[in-house]
Amino acid sequence: MPVNYYIFVSIALFCIGVIGVLTRRNAIIVFMCIELMLNAVNLLLVAFSKTHQVVNTVTGANPGIDAQIFVFFIMVVAAAEVSVGLAIIVMMYRNTHSVDINFLNRLKH
């Protein structure tokens, strides 16, 4: 399968994520959209690693494996980030009884 398909899927996922972040007001949905963007990038990484693996074995290095390990790292970091993010959202709800991000404009002050 050509790598183009993966790229299109990845771009689509990423754009959905971006639009979600920009348009939705619910903090949890915004959060999910961020995860979507993250995973779009992950997908791209894996796709490229598979594509370039064959070419680069000639030199003895194996960059495909590196990229795939990198993806695992991203997933681990994302998991940690999710726990922190969700904790923030929980605290936010406790304080304001809302998860509407437009309600939180205190950065202005």
Binding site: V18, V21, L22, R25, N102, N105, R106
Partner: protein, 630 residues
């Protein structure tokens, strides 16, 4: 001994610092003691230096490198020779007497102002000593500027009076105009000769073209006209009367105004090489002498008469310099220092007794009340009128004889001026001291002779005014009688070698003397006769009015220079400053304020809008890189 020459200016500098910094702590007697003592100490060192120089020990004492760049080295060096040692004696000697006199004259001032006065006075003497001692034009220029500054400070000493401040400002600005000429001359010298040291400049002078020398000397002369009050920059000197009277004496007699004479006498070889400059110097001097003498005829302020007589006498000195009689000019500086200091201090004594009355029409008959002042003032008047054997006769006669040798017309005008000098001085004397007292009864009641601190300097100066001329007795009276000429020969030798000065034969010289003395005697007799009985108290009319108003020169300057400049200043103030520069500066401020108010709206606190902007930025960068890649 000459290694100790730095002590001469050091003492007044210390006096200035002590009096200036401790003006709130020191008592008046301590201030007076320090101020006068500093000058006395300088005087003693100067006398020792003078004796050294007389024994033939001259030279240049280099203290340290002052300016050094490229090929140009300007050392901080002092010139110890006949000319400078003579000036040192005049400055510190007469200066000391004036300081002594001031301790009594200024006794009404509060201690801080008293100390301020003495510190300025000491700084004045210090600057003048620096000017005279400098071994190059740059050191001379430092002193030159210093005197200008101190004259400003002292003329405006009573700074609460606005008129006095204006007089001080006038003196400063006029001096600055002259200083520019001097400065240009220094730059020109550096460009052409590459050095400003006197010895090197004069040694290289013969290699320069006449045109170059003429330009340099004329520029130097512009400086001299400012400092020594010659046409066209003389109007500050009569206005300088605003300062305390001893200051007038210091400015007019011992220091400041003689700076221009000294500078030209020092640069004599350059002037001798440039006949055009010499003629300019002589003619400017002559015209100034006549003009100031005519103005002095009709002045009624005791100090104004003396001020114009100073301008006139300075004109004489320049005439002497222009005629190549350098010794005569320096001689006249010396005798003039004696009798003009005497006259000013005498006038100060009169003003002191009259409680700051300066109009001679309200005086008269002071002979009875102020015996010492009267006698000394009379001696001063005789000396300035040029009656033998008083000092003024010898020096004036030498200048007139040289003028006669150069151009007969110079001599004729010079003699007429001498007659006028005798006339106005004795008009002043007769109106002030003879006749009946014309002031208020209250003033008459308070009339008193001045204290000893004021009369002792008067007596000493009177003796000098009488006898000071005897060091320069002309050949016709006594063989080898002209000691001063003999003494100064090394300084002027190069000039005399270049241009032989012919002495007139004896019969001619007798004739010249007889004419000038005869004219002076007639003028004196007429003035005393006329003004002792019936002084002219009315306002002058006709030509006299023009003279009383100083030929309207001040008004002329006001119309053609001061007013247009003020107008220009106003235009610049209103148009360029207010609507140009202010608009720009305020506009920048307003623009920043407006811009930041708009930018502030961006910080909404909405995370969504930040993200939107971020993404918009990223897209813009993404699109841009397509174009920038190529």
């Amino acid at each position: 001994m000459s290694q100790l020459v730095f002590l001469v200016p050091l003492f007044p500098l210390l006096g200035f610092l002590i009096n200036g910094l401790l003006r709130n702590q020191l008592s008046k007697s301590a201030t007076g003691f320090i101020g006068s003592g500093a000058i006395l100490a300088s005087f003693i060192v100067s006398v020792m230096l003078f004796l050294d120089v007389k024994a033939g020990k001259t030279g240049v004492v280099t203290l340290f490198d002052f300016i050094s760049f490229g090929n140009i080295h300007i050392p901080f060096a002092f010139q110890v020779d006949q000319l400078s040692s003579l000036f040192l004696l005049i400055i510190t000697g007469v200066g000391f007497l004036i300081h002594l006199y001031s301790t009594a004259y200024m006794h009404e001032e509060a201690p801080p102002h008293f100390a301020r006065y003495f510190s300025y006075l000491n700084l004045f003497v210090f600057s003048m000593l620096l000017l005279v001692l400098g071994a190059n034009y740059v050191i001379m220029f430092i002193g030159w500027e210093g005197v200008g500054l101190c004259s400003y400070l002292l003329i405006g000493f009573w700074f609460k009076n606005n008129e006095f401040n204006n007089a001080a400002k006038k003196a400063f600005v006029m001096n600055r105009i002259g200083d520019l000429g001097f400065l240009l001359a220094i730059f020109y010298l550096l460009a052409k000769v590459g050095t400003v040291n006197f010895s090197e400049v004069f040694a290289h002078a013969p290699e320069l073209s006449v045109a170059t020398v003429t330009i340099i000397t004329l520029l130097l002369f512009v400086g001299a006209t400012g400092k020594s009050a010659q046409i066209p920059l003389y109007t500050w000197l009569p206005d300088a009367m605003a300062g305390p009277t001893p200051v007038s004496a210091l400015i007019h007699a011992a220091t400041m105004v003689t700076a221009g004479i000294y500078m030209i006498a020092r640069s004599n070889i350059l002037y001798t090489m440039a006949p055009v400059s010499q003629s300019v110097v002589a003619i400017v001097g002559l015209v100034t002498a006549v003009l100031a003498a005519t103005i002095a005829l009709k002045q009624n302020d005791i100090k104004k008469v003396l001020a114009y007589s100073t301008v006139s006498q300075l004109g004489y000195m320049f005439l002497g310099l222009g005629a190549g009689a350098y010794t005569g000019a320096v001689f006249h500086v010396m005798t003039h220092a004696f009798f003009k200091a005497l006259l000013f201090l005498g006038a100060g004594s009169v003003i002191h007794a009259m409680h700051h009355e300066q109009d001679i029409r309200n005086m008269g008959g002071l002979r009875k009340y102020l015996p010492v002042t009267h006698i000394t003032f009379l001696l001063g008047c005789i000396a300035i009128a040029g009656i033998p054997p008083f000092s003024g006769f010898f020096s004036k006669d030498e200048i007139l004889a040289a003028a006669y040798e150069t151009n007969k017309i110079y001599w004729v005008i010079g003699v007429i001026t001498a007659g006028m000098t005798a006339f106005y001085m004795f008009r002043l004397y007769a109106t002030t001291f003879l006749g009946k007292f014309r002031g208020t009864p209250e003033q008459e009641h308070h009339l008193h002779e001045s204290p000893a601190a004021m009369t002792i300097p008067l007596v000493i100066l009177a003796i000098l005014a009488v006898a000071g001329g005897w060091i320069g007795i002309p050949e016709v009276f006594m063989k080898d009688g002209h000691w001063l000429e003999h003494f100064l020969t090394p300084v002027f030798a190069a000039s005399y070698k270049l241009k032989e000065v012919h002495a007139a034969d004896h019969s001619t010289e007798y004739m010249l003397m007889a004419v000038s003395v005869g004219l002076a005697v007639i003028a004196i007799a007429y003035a005393v006769n006329r003004f002792s009985k019936k002084p002219d108290l009315q306002e002058a009319g006709g030509i006299g009015k023009v003279l009383a108003n100083k030929w309207y020169v001040d008004e002329l300057y006001d119309t053609i220079i001061v007013k247009p400049l003020n107008g220009l200043g106003k235009v610049l103030d209103n148009i360029i400053e207010k609507s140009g520069i202010d608009w720009l500066v305020n506009g920048v401020g307003k623009g920043v304020q407006y811009g930041s108010r708009q930018l502030r709206l961006l910080q909404s606190g909405q995370v969504g809008s930040y993200v939107l902007l971020m993404i918009a930025g990223m897209i813009i960068l993404f699109v841009l890189q397509f174009f920038l890649k190529k």
